[in-house]
């Protein structure tokens, strides 16, 4: 009997391609001189009316095939892009046009679209387009948006896109009655996903089959498919969307459609040529999406032990110029802010505000880092106020292991109750304290202080709702060769799905891992799917694949039992061979079963010939009896009642230079609980990446907008994505496994976790080293230097 692969650190199958340079990313598709290349003219202004666009000089340029402005768009293409996730609280949702109509609302908004023989010529053409703008004063930053002296959209009073409130009771009353009270004002700046591969789309119109084929670097192929069909007036069945290898997503590629995802197919059909758009780095900074920007006010009432009696949170969310992704980010902040704690009364209200900046959609963590920052800074403040140990105050407020399922009494991002399914927070806390050396730190800190060195330690806890619905599906097909082809609709951008999903199938079906091939994000193979975000892929597609493999297995056993004249329960499948337990001689391989599953028995191959010695089916019934289908396939869908809640705790020790205010990481520790692990190697890789992205967001990366709405650091020279030299040399990781009762595998999502507590944990550690309140993140040496100035009498 082969050992189960679930839980094994199996090496990734996809790496064999990637390591040989045989990955196929969207810009690697249609590498052919006949392919046309697109470029987009973008607004240089943050806020302006378009008076005139003169494209006359473009078309006489040799090698230029076409140019579009909004004037040239008709029907649905001329309408605003869809608002993907409406919400009753989003009373003033606004989305942009594929090409700006009469106004631009951020520097970088698409104004004109050019198609030429190559990208060089397309950019030559952009230089010849003359746009006359009537420049308007922009609204930049949350303060300006709240002041509302100027409006981003004339018809959105106060720049308020949405106002939403929820809670579990009268928090203000609870705070008023509490023995102790505190208030905090906290700020988190903008950052962005910045995957190393930007956005890109290739489209080919096939006039013979009347079909549109689209390759795009997306986190939701089915979403792109649906919108391309609607906007181009095609039937869904005429559009195929294929997601090739994706060079990182981290959230930004879940938004769709990008203007280019519609303009490229439009151009392909209009010109009858394959058309490609590959975004360049600057475009990614000014025309994709950002996140994180939030100002938060917290009022809390607590008792002598630091127990939360009342928590009242108000925050303002900068969602940029448009709201295609609705209120997902602020809703997640407002609910996930609670983390592993159980305040007696909680109330939260937020306003989502328009600014003349790049729009906001989820970035790995999606509002949780801000919420975690609010909650954990509050915990630290309470501990400081009471003179108690920071870990102890947290422990006092933990939901206990025997309290699950625990209903927080709120509505989560998926519209379901915020009910935690499982977890063990006290155990996690003990692990993280041991891992980082929490109890020994004060002594170390004294030692260092004695030699003039400043060190500090921080701790932060989080709970992450993962694996949100509505559903994912899977299709498992056993070929007559015995090879197993698996398809699921969500996409892959580095999570190793081809490996972990193959592990699940190999285990459930009893086939060799090497015989399983997984395809993701191809609407031709699985047209019903949602997408890869919210740490949902393993939970959703993993479960669906597990169930689909089980269906295929049921059919295998039924046919094999018939062929081997044995009872199904006496059969076993090992390494792709079905045999009768105890008598290994009586066996047939899955390929043969596959042949037997199809009454049409041409003896094309050895498997078919081998099959001729067996007879299956009831002569008294039609070859394909009712309720059965030819072929050896299993198809199933997984749709959970609600999200499953992973959790974790990070701790960091930092040193701050007394002279240069440089911040150095001495130790970083993570305790992580995502239920049962499919592939620990891959889960740890996700944590490593999340931690690095967290370090980046806490100490290096920000979107440096000036007061005119110009992004001043739209390059990798000034947007400080860390190199290896900026991340911890080693991350200590310990796992806890509290299985989820909500899915057949007991798993929880792990993709986003690593980044959630970073702002909070670094703020805590720097505050501990400096004895200066840290209320705004990210923080640079320059900013720390000035904080020191302000706090030196």
């Amino acid at each position: 009997m082969t050992t189960k692969l679930m839980g094994q650190g199996v090496q990734r199958v996809e790496d064999q391609r990637f390591l040989r340079g045989q990955g196929r990313y969207v810009d690697d598709v249609a590498v052919d001189p006949a392919t046309l290349h697109a470029a987009v003219l973008r607004s240089p202004h943050a806020h302006a009316r378009i008076v005139d666009i003169d494209v006359d000089a473009v078309l006489d340029l040799e090698g230029v095939h076409a140019v579009w402005t909004h004037e040239d768009l008709t029907g649905p293409m001329a309408e605003p892009l869809p608002l993907l996730i409406p919400h009753p609280a989003l009373t003033h949702g606004r989305t942009q046009y594929a090409l700006a109509r009469d106004e631009v609302n951020y520097a970088g908004e698409a104004v004109a679209f050019v198609v030429a023989d190559d990208r060089y010529l397309a950019e030559d053409a952009l230089d010849r387009i003359r746009v006359t703008y009537d420049v308007l004063a922009p609204v930049v930053g949350i303060d300006a948006a709240r002041a509302a002296d100027r409006l981003v959209h004339d018809d959105v009073p106060g720049n308020v896109g949405a106002r939403m409130e929820q809670g579990t009771g009268d928090a203000q009353a609870a705070i008023a009655k509490a023995p102790h009270r505190l208030e905090l004002d906290l700020t988190v700046e903008r950052s962005a996903c910045t995957p190393l591969e930007g956005r890109g789309t290739v489209a080919r119109w096939d006039p013979d089959s009347n079909r549109m084929q689209v390759w795009t670097s997306t986190q939701s192929s089915t979403g792109v498919r649906a919108v391309v069909a609607v906007k181009l007036g095609l039937d869904l069945g005429q559009v195929d969307v294929i997601t090739p290898d994706v060079g990182g997503g981290f959230g930004v590629k879940i938004n769709h459609p990008w203007p280019e995802e519609l303009l490229v197919p439009l151009a392909a059909r209009t010109l009858g040529r394959t058309v490609k758009f590959t975004e360049d780095r600057r475009e990614h900074f000014v025309s994709s999406a950002h996140e994180r920007g939030q100002v938060q006010h917290i009022e809390v009432g607590f008792d002598d032990d630091g127990r939360l009696l009342g928590l009242d949170v108000e925050f303002w969310h900068d969602h940029g110029a448009y709201t295609p992704y609705g209120l997902i980010v602020p809703i997640i902040t407002s609910t996930q802010l609670l983390g592993p704690y159980k305040p007696e009364v909680y109330r939260v209200v937020f306003e989502s505000l328009y600014t003349n900046t790049v729009m906001v959609t989820p970035y790995r963590g999606a509002g949780r880092p801000q919420g975690c920052f609010a909650m954990e800074r509050t915990m630290d403040a309470i501990a400081a106020y009471l003179g108690k140990d920071r870990a102890e105050v947290r422990a006092t407020n933990f939901i206990q292991p025997d309290e699950f399922p625990y209903d927080q009494g709120l509505i989560f991002q998926d519209g379901r109750e915020l009910e935690y399914d499982s977890g063990d927070y006290p155990a996690s806390l003990e692990k993280i304290k041991a891992l980082v050396g929490w109890d020994d730190f004060p002594a170390f800190q004294k030692e260092m202080a004695a030699v003039g060195r400043k060190v500090g330690i921080g701790l932060a806890c989080y709970v992450e709702g993962t694996g949100v619905g509505p559903y994912e599906g899977a299709h498992v097909h056993i070929e007559t060769t015995g090879k197993v082809k698996v398809a699921t609709g969500l996409t892959t951008q580095g999570q190793g799905h081809a490996t972990v999903f193959a592990q699940l199938v190999a285990d459930e079906l009893g086939v060799r891992f090497e015989d399983v091939e997984v395809v993701t994000g191809d609407t031709r193979r699985m047209p019903y799917a949602v997408g890869t975000f919210a740490s949902r892929a393993a939970v959703m597609s993993g479960s669906a694949i597990h169930l689909a493999a089980r269906r295929a297995k049921e059919k295998v056993l039924k046919i094999a039992a018939d062929a081997l004249e044995a009872a199904e329960e006496d059969l076993q499948i090992v390494d792709g061979v079905v045999s009768v337990k105890g008598s290994p001689g009586t066996a047939l391989d899955l390929g043969t079963v596959s042949v037997l599953s199809n009454p049409l028995r041409y003896a094309f191959d050895e498997a078919s010939k081998a099959a001729t010695q067996f007879s299956v089916g009831d002569p008294g019934k039609p070859p394909v009896p009712e309720d059965e289908e030819p072929g050896l396939e299993g198809r199933d869908f997984y749709s959970p009642e609600r999200a499953t809640f992973a959790s974790g705790m990070h701790a960091v020790i930092v040193e701050t230079d007394p002279d240069t205010a440089e911040i150095t990481i001495l130790k970083y520790a993570v305790v992580h609980d995502c239920g049962r692990l499919i592939n620990p190697m891959i889960v740890e890789g996700q944590i490593h990446g999340g931690v690095a992205q967290g370090v980046a967001g806490a100490l290096y990366e920000r979107m440096a907008y000036d007061e005119n709405g110009q992004l001043q650091n739209a390059s990798f020279m000034d947007f400080l994505m860390p190199y290896v030299t900026e991340v911890p040399d080693g991350i200590d990781i310990d796992h806890l496994e509290t299985p989820s009762p909500l899915n057949p595998l007991g798993i929880k999502g792990a993709g986003e976790a690593g980044v959630i507590p970073s702002a909070a944990v670094f703020a805590a550690a720097i505050e501990d080293a400096e004895r200066i309140p840290i209320t705004a993140m990210p923080i640079s040496p320059s900013e720390l230097f000035h904080l020191r100035q302000e706090h030196t009498p």
Binding site: Q11, R12, E14, D15, Q16, R17, F18, L19, R20, G21, Q22, G23, R24, Y25, D27, D28, V31, E62, G63, D118, Y120, T194, P195, L196, E197, D245, V246, G247, G248, F250, D280, R281, Q493, G494, Q495, G496, M681, I682, E684, G685, H688, G689, G690, V691, A692, Q693, S715, F716, M717, M721, Y723, V724, T725, V727, D729, G730, I731, G754
Partner: protein, 166 residues
């Protein structure tokens, strides 16, 4: 007026290619779009990310910071040229496979070329030297932890089964 084209002979992974390209054609684009060697990736086009790193006469350089016409008569090695003659993975590639040194794989070719040259020049690097070897390449997925392990593993493999180092 159509643009002047220049004849250029590129030697890539041991093979010679004769191209006619405009002077402004970047080496990265010539490799990817003219030669179809799409393993070399373009991540920023201003020389910071390192995804497009290739070996020029054995030394790592940014393909996005070179003109194809300027690579005339020099030996270019891309990720496609790193594997062993028998088709098996090189020690550096093998190290990445064993240590989970890649996730989305987009930045990987630039790391592989850089490390291949780095280990050729220093086959027994210290941990610090392994980190330094990759200090000019950006990766957004891995947090670099496993890439450093991969470099160390590749060095180990190199001692067991030395290669020419391309």
């Amino acid at each position: 007026m159509s643009e002047e084209l220049h004849d250029v002979r590129l030697r890539v992974n041991g093979a010679s290619y004769d191209l006619r390209v405009p002077a402004r054609r970047l080496l990265s684009d010539a490799l990817r779009h003219d030669l179809g060697l799409t393993g070399t990736h373009v991540g920023c086009e201003h020389g910071v990310c390192g995804a497009c790193t290739v070996l020029l006469d054995g030394a790592p350089v940014r393909a996005c910071l070179m003109l194809a016409v300027s690579a005339q008569d020099q030996e270019v090695t891309t990720v496609e040229g790193l594997g062993n003659a028998d088709g098996s993975l090189s020690n550096v590639q093998q190290g990445f496979a064993e240590c989970h040194g890649l996730q989305c794989g987009f930045c990987t070719p630039g790391f592989l070329t850089t490390i291949t040259a780095g280990l050729r020049d220093n086959p027994t690097p210290t941990h610090e030297e392994c980190r330094d070897m990759i200090a000019g390449n950006l990766c957004r997925c891995t947090g670099y932890q496993n890439i450093v392990k991969a470099v160390e593993r590749a060095a180990e493999l190199g001692l067991e089964t030395p290669e020419d180092g391309s």
